[in-house]
Symmetry: D4
Subunit: 148 residues, 8 copies
Amino acid sequence: MELSVYLAGEIHSSWREDIKQLVNEANLSITCYGPMENHDRSDHIGEEILGEQPTAILKDEAASSINNLRTQILLEKSDVVIALFGESYKQWNTAMDASTAIAKGKPLILIRPETLHHALKELSNKAQVVVETPEQAVAALSYIFEEE
Amino acid sequence: MELSVYLAGEIHSSWREDIKQLVNEANLSITCYGPMENHDRSDHIGEEILGEQPTAILKDEAASSINNLRTQILLEKSDVVIALFGESYKQWNTAMDASTAIAKGKPLILIRPETLHHALKELSNKAQVVVETPEQAVAALSYIFEEE
Amino acid sequence: MELSVYLAGEIHSSWREDIKQLVNEANLSITCYGPMENHDRSDHIGEEILGEQPTAILKDEAASSINNLRTQILLEKSDVVIALFGESYKQWNTAMDASTAIAKGKPLILIRPETLHHALKELSNKAQVVVETPEQAVAALSYIFEEE
Amino acid sequence: MELSVYLAGEIHSSWREDIKQLVNEANLSITCYGPMENHDRSDHIGEEILGEQPTAILKDEAASSINNLRTQILLEKSDVVIALFGESYKQWNTAMDASTAIAKGKPLILIRPETLHHALKELSNKAQVVVETPEQAVAALSYIFEEE
Amino acid sequence: MELSVYLAGEIHSSWREDIKQLVNEANLSITCYGPMENHDRSDHIGEEILGEQPTAILKDEAASSINNLRTQILLEKSDVVIALFGESYKQWNTAMDASTAIAKGKPLILIRPETLHHALKELSNKAQVVVETPEQAVAALSYIFEEE
Amino acid sequence: MELSVYLAGEIHSSWREDIKQLVNEANLSITCYGPMENHDRSDHIGEEILGEQPTAILKDEAASSINNLRTQILLEKSDVVIALFGESYKQWNTAMDASTAIAKGKPLILIRPETLHHALKELSNKAQVVVETPEQAVAALSYIFEEE
Amino acid sequence: MELSVYLAGEIHSSWREDIKQLVNEANLSITCYGPMENHDRSDHIGEEILGEQPTAILKDEAASSINNLRTQILLEKSDVVIALFGESYKQWNTAMDASTAIAKGKPLILIRPETLHHALKELSNKAQVVVETPEQAVAALSYIFEEE
Amino acid sequence: MELSVYLAGEIHSSWREDIKQLVNEANLSITCYGPMENHDRSDHIGEEILGEQPTAILKDEAASSINNLRTQILLEKSDVVIALFGESYKQWNTAMDASTAIAKGKPLILIRPETLHHALKELSNKAQVVVETPEQAVAALSYIFEEE
């Protein structure tokens, strides 16, 4: 069996590398997808493809149209979504990807520090699994492959 | 024609009353739904129905299970969703309701101050209409009813 | 606003009457649907319509084809499903109706005594709300209608 | 042609091994999925991943969130579901998996002793095929591969 | 509660009138839809609207485009479909309407003489209820409205 | 029975008034929806609600976001779509509305002069009915209401 | 590119072999599925798996439950359905498979002699392509693979 | 990861070859599908398979039934659709394919000269990405494959 997993969430730490390394160590047949992790490239991709934009909002709109193209296609190819929330940033696109997954019937594994639980309580309630660390998320994925 | 609108977003200001008053002034056949706006009742509804919970997280989980029941039913009954983002709070449940609407094929009208655009750029790109004030949102709704 | 609720579960106690009375007392605009509560009629409806059947299994099959017709139509008309599990009987049709509701995107309110939780743990995890009494279920429904 | 089959039902007997052996003997290109069959691991997986839980119900909830993650993903990957009911246990999760399959348009093969037919009559009526033994279930699968 | 029923099948006998009269006698809140029962009008409606057609096949194609418009809209508005098969005619459009209902998740009540069972065995197996007379079909509908 | 019809197509002639008058004359219970027919208002609605835009393309984008909001909501409320193509204009939004209806399972009645058939041949092939005049379109709608 | 095609229709002539041979000669990457073509095995499969049945109707019901299992799974795996109607037999299961394909959004190629057109006019109108011979059906499939 | 892309639009220039060459140069695992690009073959395919037709409209109808068969199957197999509009031709089938993709949840990349923006404004608003050249479209696709 092979699984595809979309890794939604912030692109300022190395948590996706942690997930991928844990997946490799556990020898799981899992393909990981995710957003562009180079923050500058993600913010500038709109202007790089479409040319300079007249305002900051239009620069953002151009970039998000390309980023959402990527997300929509990769999320559609995934069997399960892992979304990580951290202490910093608004992370509304993380909430968007997580909610889109749920609405499309793809199970969500939510990773967040316990301190954020109150603000995330409605999303946590809709997630299939709520954990605190990438190790726990991969342990849940690993369990899917286990045979007695 | 009658429309039903779900008003997603923070419950600390009177923006929903503004919307309803504007709808009334414009004589639009619109029914507005929304979350429980009494913040204390929203936070405590879980324990009120299910009894005291052993931890803060479980109190939150109990409350969110009831709040999500309400949201799921009212959002399903709506033709369009208006989501308002403000300067304060995490507002991840607002992002969740807005994204759920989009994923279910219900158009989203997003109200946010321009200062928040960068953080909301992916969600803005998926919204059908992006405005800054409740007046603009109601103007868009009003346009649906107009006949030459 | 009007809600329709399907009341799945055993037909040997008066719990549906309790729900309806509580709904009336709370003045909620709720229509309650449910299975045939006359146990004999439910078991014999197949032969009453289709004539005597050669074996007990065929009598059951005839009855269940009519009962499932009723359930499919009434459940489709409902916004939310309440399923009650008790100490007696196999109650597999209750589990079937509850699961069908979830799979069709209709939220489930599960009523069960705490003693049954272990056997119901997978279904409880998928339910939107889990309670122990009809009063709690109606309190959750009532909350959907509340405006501050 | 290759088929994937989810084997829903109790994990206290070796019926899944019987199915897999029969599939092998018949040289059918069938991949079998199913729940964790190690009963202790299934009951404890929540605490193993999420840590010790304060109550038995929360331990169950933690376990079922992981078990349902597994089931949702594997059932989604399956073309057909076989559900086996036996004389013991409540088996409400078996009824849930079987009903979820039907509601998602995946055909169900139901295996049950004739003595259980009355209690299973509504689910039997919705199943595509109802049999008494794993041999019969595999014979039905084998027929799909046959060419004259 | 109100139900809408589409009555698929031949238009050469008065079986739809029988159904409607039985519904009236039983005081059921049921709206009956169905195809154009004037056979000539049904066959000629294409040319009446679109003008004379160069060949018999094109006359048929013109008529069926209008008849299918009617069927698609009325079937979509129905909660349940009754399909009657008789001894005469090919009745392939009856089989089409019945199968479309099933594929769209609307339950089918099939009326046919027992002598036709072998030829109808695959469709019977997919129908929710199989009966021999309009009286039995209405008895099944009536059961949906019954309260103890 | 009541039908709702969305009237897609150009807003430079009075064809919608013709349809509505024919519907009235035939006493059909039909509600007609359609786009803003005041061409100036349709082109300027974006700037009227969102304020002056820096470029012509952005003015168009603002207008189309409001126009598409209207179309999406009204088309969703419709049972059937009539799309009229004329000799002038690109009419790509007419093609878009017509195709959206088909993809959502709503039948399309296409009105076009025979001279346009070649350019419309793929869309004609997907339409349920193809006619040349509003009279013919209303005749097809009228047929849905006819009882012998 | 690879296509899967379900070949619905009578099992008394060799038309499926003709299709497969034409596909081979044209070197098309097409996998053909279809029903059990051994008529006796198809009629007796229910009793072979489930044991002797008390009546002819129950024997038919047993057989059709297995045959429908096969059809549902193979049709789900197909990109397109070819349905052939001939002069003999009721062929209601052919009409059922053809209509199921259409309702599920899979295109239908209908093969029938022109003499049957009147009786098939509603189904023809819903088919994507209507032809008279297997050669024409394969020519249509072949066109999908063509590159200039 | 592998992507499939349907290239909708006119068949009078070599833009599809440009796309394919750019994809090859960028070493992207992308399979491109599209309509028959031989204009004569596309217009005559109906008569080639179905025989001479009595009128020009019927010749068109025959051709479009085969062309739509091809498009429906190839579009269903695609993850994303690129639609190119040029200065010439009505291009209503391009608008149809583009809108069908959007309605089915497949993201659309729209290529058009800026001069056409006003006429395409509603479709542009629904597209995920709007560009002016094939190079920009492939740059957007390439971004989906990028890993930091």
